[in-house]
Point group: C2
Chain length 213, copies 2
């Protein structure tokens, strides 16, 4: 039913800034669902697992969604917070052979929507706005394949997600969903990390159309 | 004659990264032309002039071009250097009522091409990749209209410029043209300023196709 894969903005003419409609935060409803079991994995176990997966399947790809709402006339990004500390964009790792959009829809549903047998929560995924590369799994990500790296281990892709004018978000109890102003995350890698803190740059080419009625 | 306004990349499907062809630095030729007269204006004079212009014409818009070449397998950005210190992107301020693309072509020709009566140097301007806003002329630019600012004083727009596989650049003698690796400008606002240092983020959604033959 819902619109599928309509690009958030069409880049018809370079003279025109692509437009994104954003709606006030009060249009959205927030609920909770059961916490997703955490692996409780140690850093050493994780390193071993990632290494084995890389040997078996090559480059690991993660996809994340940038979801925007309006508050006080300024765009805010929806971020998940884990244990009152680190911030995450909704999304995660693709399964082997899974397509970007298919995987992102699956991840958005698992992090932001009620459990549903049908599983289609009508996510409308727009264009890819940025990609980051890691030369090692514990290395800092760069917005280009690091020079002098023969093979990257991980690629992280960010997609703009176009929200409808109202919807419900249902978030696992072990995560908090927060609307954080662009002005707070901009250039603030210390708190939000190198990827999230670059989102205001990635969005700067868009004109935001705040829809209040 | 030359191709005009062909977008650098068409965003047909969000699943596909837009591609940009870049050519080795050795394909390009560099020459010099007479220095353009510098105003020799004081900061106080500049502030007065900008204030008067804002009162008369409103928002000041600057347009800049991001030109890419390949060196050692890594994309480099062409930057102009003034007096061995500050770095600039080629571009500048629009004239009253001038269109973005028209103004950018005029500025690219004045900074990077031989004097030519016809003035059309076949610049192929692609999409806008970012915009910055200043609430005051001497304020730090932000990649969004600063919250709580009623009227912005200046908007700076960056456009991707698609270079042909060979061409000559002719640069005023008081400027130096440098090819600087993305990895050097990334996150290096101290040296390159907040706008240039964000270019690697803005370009991260593109796949670079290095053409050597």
């Amino acid at each position: 039913m819902g619109l599928e894969m309509a690009p958030v903005a069409t880049e018809s003419s370079p003279e025109q800034q692509p437009e994104v409609a954003i709606y006030p935060l009060c249009r959205y409803y927030f609920g909770a669902k059961d916490a997703r079991p955490c692996a409780g994995e140690t850093a050493a176990d994780r390193a071993l697992r990632l290494k084995a997966n890389f040997a078996a399947r090559g480059l690991r790809t993660c996809v994340h969604g940038v979801l925007l709402v309006e508050l006080s006339g300024h765009p805010h990004v929806l971020l998940l917070q884990v244990r009152n500390s680190s911030f995450l964009l909704p999304g995660g790792r693709l399964r082997p052979a899974e397509q970007d959009l298919q995987g992102l829809k699956r991840k958005l549903s698992s992090k932001l929507a009620a459990e549903d047998r049908n599983g289609d929560h009508h996510w409308q995924i727009g264009e890819c706005i940025g990609m980051w590369w890691r030369s090692e799994f514990d290395a800092r990500p760069f917005p280009y394949p690091p020079p002098n790296t023969r093979v990257s281990k991980e690629c992280v892709k960010l997609f703009l997600v176009r929200l409808p004018m109202a919807r419900q978000f249902v978030v696992p109890r072990n995560l908090k969903l927060l609307a954080v102003p662009l002005s707070q995350i901009h250039d603030n890698a210390q708190v939000y990390g190198p990827i999230i803190s670059a989102i205001p740059n990635l969005l700067s080419k868009f004109s935001f159309n705040v829809v209040r009625d």
